[in-house]
């Protein structure tokens, strides 16, 4: 269901782009992150982090999915397993952070929308960035997927996509509207 909904929205956005030049500030960054279904004896939903990194490796946080439900914040103990994210700002973040942290998600395609004007993305200087998506799973593996992009995003270049091999499926980047 989520997949279909996402496709419709993305399609509409692509059409809209042909006719309107929407102000960048009113736009939303839309990401679709696929968590693959894995045939393993013990499955835990992965921790996932999404951030943008400029050429000097300065990170702008986009999203972190981790176990918020455990007693005594014990879910935070495993945040360092998102080891690149941990290094690129995670370790300096006082979680939970409004608009960035959320609970984990199971297998499927998950849409993530970030209103650019209301987030740190509004402060990004134009230039080259890498969108990095890292997933780490308890008693499982860890994977990092990268999508190089130019900010602000140009609609003609969208959607961007990349795919992981183990812990992440297809990642798509679009703009709304």
């Amino acid at each position: 269901m989520e997949i279909k909904l996402f496709r419709k929205i993305a399609g509409a956005a692509a059409c809209a782009a042909l006719f309107f030049t929407a102000g960048a500030q009113a736009q939303s960054l839309q990401l679709s992150i696929e968590i693959p279904r894995l045939n393993v004896a013990e499955y835990h939903k992965p921790y996932v982090a999404v951030w943008l990194e400029d050429e000097s490796r300065k990170a702008t946080q986009v999203a972190v999915w981790y176990d918020l439900e455990m007693r005594n914040n014990e879910g935070e103990k495993w945040l360092k397993d998102l080891r690149q994210w941990w290094r690129r700002g995670g370790r300096g973040l006082d979680v939970p952070v409004d608009g960035i942290t959320s609970a984990t998600y199971g297998p499927g395609e998950h849409a993530l929308e970030v209103a650019i004007a209301e987030s740190d993305l509004a402060k990004l200087a134009p230039g080259k960035y890498r969108l990095r998506i890292e997933a780490a799973r308890e008693v499982g593996g860890r994977e990092l997927v990268e999508i190089p992009l130019t900010w602000p995003l140009e609609k003609s270049s969208l959607p961007l996509s990349a795919a992981g091999k183990e812990e992440l499926g297809t990642i798509k980047v679009a703009l709304l509207p």
Partner: protein, 277 residues
Amino acid sequence: MNKNVFKTTLLAGLMAAGIAMQAEAHRAWILPSSTVLSGDDPYVTFDAAVSNTIFFPDHVALGADRVSAFAPSGKKIELENSAKGKYRSTFDVQLKEEGTYRIGVASAGLRAFWKDDEGKRQMWPGRGQQADDSEFDTAVPKNAKDLRVTQSSHRIETFVTLGAPSDSVLKPQGVGLELVPVTHPNDLYAGESASFKLLIDGEPANQAEITFVPGGSRYRDKQEEIKLTADAAGLFSVTWPSAGQYFMEADFEDGKAKAPATIRRGSYSATFEVLPL
């Protein structure tokens, strides 16, 4: 065969030379269960041993009673659940503050070696013993044959970090051979290069000799040592060939000793964890 002969000779020579040198025949280390941590008040458990094979306890335990742990605020913190086994000690440290912790052993003092009237080798302090420098005058005969007096220092340490790394526990104390990280010791990644500085009594340890050995040496034929020399500023850098735990040792010797010593000697060793990119 040749190698074995060499080792036996070397070992015999080192043993004869006494404790200071014996430290070089075996490697003393403190190994943390993890170095990069998140969450509330996590624990790190440590092994401490003196061994031939890197990170495999095979010789003697390094007593936890000699180990001190310092929190990011500089406060000395208690070791918990200390136990001394045949081959290694274990202890736990709880990280209640965010930042970088230093866990280690440090000692410095005079050592003397000489031959008595019967031509037998003598040393002070005795093997495995500690002594205060103030006892030097009464314990060491000043006109003994072949008297050598060294000012020696030893330091064995490791670092762990909760949350963002901090620098307060990394400040040098100005005593003996010390490591001053340029690259943070809990921010090390395979394929990247890391820089460090060695100081002797607070001054650059020019020409100090450094060796890195990757852990797991039992499962390979070669030590795969990385040998480096500190420059005039005491600086050196290493590019980590792969992720894993690394043992580092450094030695320094010169003649700028405080009287009555004529030789100044410093040894430093540390354990680092390098993470995959």
